[in-house]
Symmetry: C2
Subunit: 131 residues, 2 copies
């Protein structure tokens, strides 16, 4: 699969795919005889995984670390799991904070909707975010 096709299936730009490969976020992609990248479906699955993690806010750095360990083989089993656990906990905390923000936003939106024109001076008085 050419890079153009990979872009379409993954909905990522060619620049981004090349960037991901360059920084080690995805393993080296195989080449055709003339030197063009040739994405396998395994490559695409991996990139799909990476994309999912990136969308959730996992840093490129962490994923690079994970890929590196993965390439070092079985001995890195524990370390890899630790990264996943760490990132899961990070995302989990982030989701909780966001849910509190949602509660707060909904409270404010409701005030706007019930035409309480004086909602704004109370801005800070509604439920506070924990952070």
């Amino acid at each position: 699969m050419t890079i153009a096709q990979a872009c379409k299936t993954l909905n990522l730009s060619a620049d981004t795919l090349r960037y991901y490969e360059k920084v080690g976020l995805i393993p080296k992609i195989g080449r055709t005889e003339s030197g063009l990248r040739d994405y396998t479906s395994a490559d695409c699955n991996w990139i799909e995984f990476i994309k999912c993690m990136r969308n959730a806010g996992v840093q490129v750095e962490s994923l690079v670390e994970y890929v590196k360990l993965y390439q070092e083989g079985d001995s890195t089993h524990e370390a890899r799991k630790d990264i996943l656990v760490r990132e899961r906990d990070r995302i989990s905390a982030q989701v909780e904070a966001m849910q509190q923000t949602l509660t707060r936003l909904n409270f404010k939106i409701e005030k706007y909707e019930t035409k309480m024109k004086n909602a704004e001076p109370l801005l800070g008085d509604c439920a506070k975010c924990s952070s």
Copy 2:
């Protein structure tokens, strides 16, 4: 309240507070006779709100827009509500994506824990993220 005290209560750096004021993310802070910033509790409440939104990933740009409208008075009531709704929907979608990522991560972590050393080649085969 001096900027140092505001930093402590809000857990934000002085640079960040000044930056927020400069770009219009928080209204102009009053000054003492000698020109030092003097934060009121209303200022702190506002900043607390801003901080909550920023923590949830709301862009500075959007918040600046909101503050600007707020300062223009009652006529911007609808426009302000629209911003809040827009950002709520954005956060909401993001939370959903993150929850799917969490599911995926938990699946992988479990595989690591049950000592399925061959978990990695299946990387892309577990539940896909929608995005």
